[in-house]
């Protein structure tokens, strides 16, 4: 974990990022267009060599944040600033949100994506070698076949793939092996930033642990930063240096992992943590009962978006949008009453230190 939080260590700066989709409803005469605010005014920073976890329930906009940062979706407004360390880069800070055409294509190898489902994200008609080499070929980064082969073999070995397997087709592999192929493909261009979108959610527990360990090792070796998107908080807790929580298109809290999990300030984070069933029969499982369902982002509630379900909601919450602010060092949250809440729970790490 990097303790140096100086500006030179910043890899990505996301400022006021918003992604809105027009949703058109046909009527008998004419049509209605509404704006779906999938991501609304999100700002955060990712450091070099760091893993940022992004959690939230379905429809909260986690995937959209990841895709907008990679320019797989064009952001509606806001900035994504990328401080590249690549020696061949023309300038050190690239405004990813303004790139287009050739400039964007040439920049693409600097960032990458690992998907959720290792079954549907590998082309069954390509060999493993061709799958892993594709980012190099498609971006025009490398042209020499021998050079590409060397790079593919290097990354496959790092991802603990058997080099004999490079000639095979993906159908011959199990879920865990396929996910390693996907990771090798994402890292072959030596990107500085990789989005892992629910990359371990589809795997069985015993395999999942292995992939999480692999991602950590690769980060230590290559210094890559991860945005680790997941709905499973316990996996995020293990892999992330810092964690952001999203609710209906907005960040509600962003803090170093220990602070977020052991002393959260936002009532939603607290409720989310209480809802996780622990594999401990003596743990007191008393999830905070949230009223109702997750709101539709098309008709997001006014004021604080969580006020319709928040057990602590007051009048002010339904009218004023809470300010995104730093309530403690490196601990950001958006709740009017964050300073008054103390949701701390015992930290198992502390008790591990021998007395």
């Amino acid at each position: 974990m990097s303790d140096d939080l100086s500006a030179s260590n910043t890899l990505l700066e996301v400022n006021n990022l918003s992604v809105h989709f027009p949703v058109t409803k046909r009527r008998l005469f004419g049509s209605d267009t509404q704006m779906l605010r999938a991501v609304d005014d999100v700002s955060f920073v990712i450091h070099r060599g760091e893993t940022v976890g992004l959690v939230g329930e379905s429809g909260s906009g986690k995937t959209t944040v990841g895709r907008a940062m990679l320019r797989a979706i064009d952001p509606t407004s806001g900035e994504v600033l990328f401080n590249t360390a690549a020696p061949d880069a023309a300038q050190s800070q690239v405004a990813v949100h303004t790139l287009s055409g050739t400039a964007l294509r040439q920049f693409r190898p600097r960032m990458s994506l690992v998907f959720q489902d290792p079954y549907s994200s590998l082309n069954p008609r390509m060999t493993v070698r061709d799958i892993i080499a594709e980012p190099l070929v498609a971006s025009g980064l490398m042209k020499d076949r021998a050079q590409i082969d060397a790079r593919v073999r290097d990354i496959a070995a790092r991802c603990k793939l058997n080099l004999e397997h490079l000639r095979r087709f993906p159908h011959a592999f199990s879920g865990g092996q396929r996910q390693r192929i996907c990771i090798a493909r994402a890292l072959v261009s030596k990107p500085e930033f990789v989005v892992c979108d629910e990359s371990v959610s589809a795997l069985d527990v015993s395999i999942q642990a292995e992939i999480v360990n692999l991602l950590r090792d690769l980060q230590d070796e290559m210094g890559v930063s991860f945005l680790f998107i997941a709905h499973d908080l316990s996996v995020v807790a293990q892999i992330s240096h810092r964690v952001a929580v999203m609710y209906v298109g907005k960040f509600v809290e962003y803090a170093p992992t220990e602070k977020l999990f052991f002393s959260p300030r936002h009532p939603y984070t607290h409720a989310l943590l209480s809802a996780i069933p622990l594999a401990d029969p003596d743990a007191n499982f008393a999830p905070i009962r949230l009223k109702g369902e997750i709101p539709n982002p098309l008709t997001a509630p006014s004021g604080c978006r969580f006020h319709t379900r928040c057990p602590f909601a007051k009048d002010r919450c339904s009218t004023d949008v809470p300010e995104w602010r730093e309530v403690a060092a490196e601990h950001f949250t958006a709740c009017h009453f964050a300073e008054e809440f103390d949701f701390s729970r015992p930290n198992g790490n502390a008790s591990e230190i021998p007395a």
Binding site: G176, S206, A209, S234, T257, E258, R289, G348
Partner: protein, 336 residues
Amino acid sequence: MSRLLSVENLTISFRTDEGTITPVQDVTFAVDKGRTLGLVGESGSGKSVSTKALMRLLPRTASLGADTKMHYTAKDGQVMRIETLSDRSREIRALRGGEMGMIFQEPMASFSPVYTIGNQIIEAIRLHRPMSKREARAFAIDMLDKVGISNAGARIDQYAHELSGGMRQRAMIAVALSAGPALLIADEPTTALDVTIQAQVLDLMRDLQRELGMGMIFITHDLGVIAQVADDVAVMYLGSIVERGPARDVIRAPKHPYTQGLLAALPSLDTLSKRLTPIPGEIPSPNARPSGCPFHTRCAQKIAGLCDRKIPREVVPEPGRAVRCWLYDENGRAVA
């Protein structure tokens, strides 16, 4: 406590183009009235197939083993021998739904998109209870209310796509419960739901079970869910139950190396940033089941020449518990 269901030596084979495969082998378990049995295992371990066999819902290519016994005590006290019933007999049709209810993982796939929720609940009620349409409708609204669907009177006329995921799963539970089953089989009922919604549904299922005194089989791959809902647990690996016993004891002090590995691989919320401990290797495919103990290919404690040759028998290490592993002798004591 009375026995509701006892399954002995359940073996299921499928005829396939590549020959016969046996995804479930010699599975033994029991469910008591008012208690929950958690069936836990990773993909391909045979959890779902085993419970489908209980309702005789297997495809025609499947066959049950010769010494398979599935005895169920019906609500009127009669013992039904499920393995002898024909797939289409009147008895098995009364059993499906009326005696045993089932909830599946993906509620969107279990509801018909062209009928309203109400239509489908009323159908289930009228199949198992002598009620007029009007009475059945009133009963259906009551059921929806009971599973916590607000404004049930209006929701009953909606279609499945108009409900949210959590609401749909509640409606599914209402369908299963409306026929008044004595045993509820829940196949990964919360896996597709978000955690806050999952907590709501688990809460609801616990309350309903307490109220109705049903027995329950809860299939899941999530040991956290098991720890919170199950009284007893059976851990499956590649078609065999490797360990079973009271949930608390099994999770606190697992005996089988697979259960130990599974618990160690689980990321914890209490101690962060510790390196996870995966179980080495991959889960073998069911058509290439290893000889001997199915887990020996990944087991760190395997005994060469024994585990890879002979299938371990089930032994009793403590009263109420059972484990299938060569690390324990006939009396269930650990072999040094």
